[in-house]
């Protein structure tokens, strides 16, 4: 058993904490760094509730040990807002379309679709469904989530 000091960049800020080797990144974010926006659903890589952005790509934070994230750059749901707390267009569209109910899968859904829109500003429905294909939601049947992403993409296109 070994304990490590872990320093990483989270939502643009360098942060440090201590963790045993066996502590997963999601446990570290929640318990050590106090970022409870990222949720735990299954701890075996199926549900996607713990999705975060690691070096620009969406990944499962339950499938990494925190020590493996040393030196890396992470964005969590808490990092999607603007500097003054303004909602991102995607967050706003999730709200406008009521793309959630209980809110538990929502951070993961936002992470998955946020990274989709960075890479593909004009996704079709199939591409949106593919991007959230690894994020389970039990409340919405996914439809209002798809609609929220479509609305965001439309707004972003119109803005440019």
């Amino acid at each position: 058993m070994s304990e490590h000091k872990i320093t990483l960049t989270v939502n643009g800020r360098e942060m440090s904490g201590y963790a045993e080797s066996r502590v997963t990144l999601v446990d570290f974010l929640r318990d050590e760094l106090g970022l409870t926006g990222t949720h735990i659903g299954c701890e075996h890589g199926v549900c996607g509730a713990c999705s975060i952005v690691l070096d620009g790509k969406p990944v499962r934070s339950c499938l990494m040990y925190a020590v493996m994230a040393e030196g890396h750059e992470i964005t969590t749901v808490e990092g999607l807002e603007g500097p003054q707390g303004e909602l991102s267009p995607l967050q706003d569209a999730f709200w406008e379309n009521h793309a959630m109910q209980c809110g538990y899968c929502t951070p993961g859904m936002l992470i998955a679709t946020h990274t989709l829109l960075v890479e593909n500003p004009d996704p079709d429905e199939e591409e949106i469904r593919e991007a959230i294909g690894g994020n389970l939601c039990r409340c919405t049947g996914y439809q209002q989530i798809v609609e929220a992403v479509q609305m965001t993409a439309k707004k972003l296109r119109e803005a440019t």
Binding site: S2, E43, G45, L54, K57, R60, C62, Y65, G134
Partner: protein, 293 residues
Amino acid sequence: MKAAPFDYVRVSSIDEVCQVLADSGEEARIIAGGQTLVPLMAMRLARPSLLIDINDVSELSGISVDGNDLVIKAGTRQADALASDIVKSNVPLLADALSHVGHTQTRNRGTVGGSLVNADPSAEIPLIAQTLDAVIVARSTRGDRTIPVNEFLESAMATTLAPDECLVEAHFPIWASKNTGFGFHEVSIRDSDFALAAAAAQVTLNRKGNCEKLNVAIGGASPAALRLTIVEEELVGTDLGDDAIKAACAKIGDLIDPQADVHADAAYRGRVAKVMAGRAICDSRDRAKGVLQ
């Protein structure tokens, strides 16, 4: 679902990996993407005493063409291989199969080598390796070892890699002939689930349109991905008619040994394995003829 305690070391070169493996014995495990290992550890079905993190080993990452081989370094992310034009233009069968591996988020971490060493009988990458006679290169402090994939894949979740060996790269032969086509089919319950049965085929047609060379393999129906040499032998030289393909695939029943689990019984897997094989061969033929994109 918390892993049992373990030690952790991050290494930066293959030599270092080999040295740590040599020093630490069988209780050490390499971790790259972790997409299979971490869940197993969470359920305490795997409990290594030491994890060797190879994510910083830059020499374990990359895709290139070397002579007639597509070479993929073991630590290459599945997402990078999927996005690679080199993979797509040289071994399109692999590119197609990669799109069926897990989903976006797991492909962003999961590696090509990780899938090979995990050797899940249903996994796509070992199936393609088996189909194309890929060659695996492993290294240890004892030196390099080149292993044909059919000697590498041993059984379900087991390979012939020695405990002190590190998988370095996989060589996928490139079929240069223009009249080559591939086919890949799998049946899974949900889109991103492991296949209940999968099949891959690659064919080269001669100028008359007859089958000159055919490689076909199935996954999910035997302890390791299985080459269907009986089918290949039966079909080489034919015009690959639908009926001939079906008849040839009907004979694989004796070769396979499907396992039952909570998702499907053995009989189901056996039947659909034949179907998948037939569909994969049909698609490979149609692509070779240019009638299927």
